[in-house]
Point group: C2
Chain length 211, copies 2
């Protein structure tokens, strides 16, 4: 039984905006922060996006668009903000809830799209997608500022240098190893084992500490 207002109309009887999700899927490849772009129509690159169905949440829609449009299993999409300019989409009144997700590159084998470094995008993207990429990079940097690899881009056991390289890629700048060590060390558990097979003194292996 659907709800009716005093004039006998249901909610859906009133004209209302459509809602889309656009997802900036980030990863780290070759020590650079990259975003997965998707070819939209002819000459324009865009983020994967879709309309939100009436029976799914935003997160479900975000995971679905990654699966359907770029063949990737997402991890944990986060909302950035709503883009709601009146004429941003010429098909009608559409607001888009921008999302970001950050996954290890192993998730991207066989992905349908193009990975581009976030600081060297191939020309302006469709809609307001340049602004979404910018917001997603800010989100990722805030996420990696204080905590050791919260999105698990490196495997469960890692050396401090491996961890540092991932943080440098996300933050987009070099870090000093002694400062980095001091910031991270008390959020890590040593495994007692050492890395093997590299030149130089073997490094200790760590795990993320259970918070």
């Amino acid at each position: 039984m659907t709800w009716r207002d005093s004039s006998g109309r249901a909610l859906a009887d009133y004209p209302h905006p459509s809602v889309a999700v656009d997802v900036a899927l980030l990863s780290v490849v070759d020590e650079r922060l990259v975003v997965l772009l998707h070819r939209r129509e002819e000459a324009r690159w865009a983020l994967p996006g879709t309309f939100v169905r009436i029976d799914e949440t935003l997160e479900q829609a975000a995971l679905r668009v990654l699966r359907e449009k770029v063949a990737v299993i997402g991890e944990r999409p986060e909302q950035l903000r709503v883009f709601d300019a009146l004429h941003r989409d010429d098909r009608g009144r559409v607001m888009s809830v921008a999302h970001v997700d950050l996954v290890p590159p192993s998730r991207l084998v066989g992905a349908d799209g193009r990975l581009e470094p976030v600081d060297a995008l191939p020309g302006p993207l469709a809609f307001d997608h340049d602004a979404i990429v910018e917001a997603s990079v800010s989100w990722a940097r805030a996420e990696y500022r204080d905590r050791p690899d919260p999105r698990r881009l490196v495997s469960d056991e890692f050396t401090l240098l491996e961890l540092q390289r991932v943080h440098e890629a996300v933050l987009g700048r070099r870090l000093q190893k002694d400062t980095f060590r001091r910031q991270m060390i008390d959020q890590l558990d040593g495994t007692g084992t050492l890395s093997r097979g590299t030149v130089g003194k073997p490094a200790r292996l760590y795990r993320r500490a259970a918070t």
Copy 2:
């Protein structure tokens, strides 16, 4: 001329969620951070909210709901996040874009509703409005952490103590005057005049520096 897809349907022909805005309108009264609540139906308090019309932006809808439901002229509503649980509204599928606005108490004379301190709300609010209030307080505190009264709750000229009292109300804790002074002083311009009529040594008056 409306856009049609390959099966001849316009966007609005597909069932899609309705979009609402809910606005936490904050102010500072008696050195406490307060939120304006609105009576919804019987026994439940709620934030003012409305459906977004097809021809208005989120900001316009947020300003409209303040005007229509609580008779307040808003200042600059900011998005917090979208609440999108599938059955959060029993009238149908509705997502709500939570907003926050922070205005001086002079805007609230004649407001239609009840001002309550954010840390002493009268029981659980309707829908997910408790979470919206919590997010709006976090937003306000971040806004006031580093900058002198960015929402202009005090008048154009003020003493450091007046400024500090407003910051303490927003942040919900006492501050030390010497630390506070050092944080703010280089973002202020002295006017060269002194406050008058108070007990004790007259204080210098300041203006917000042009950033």
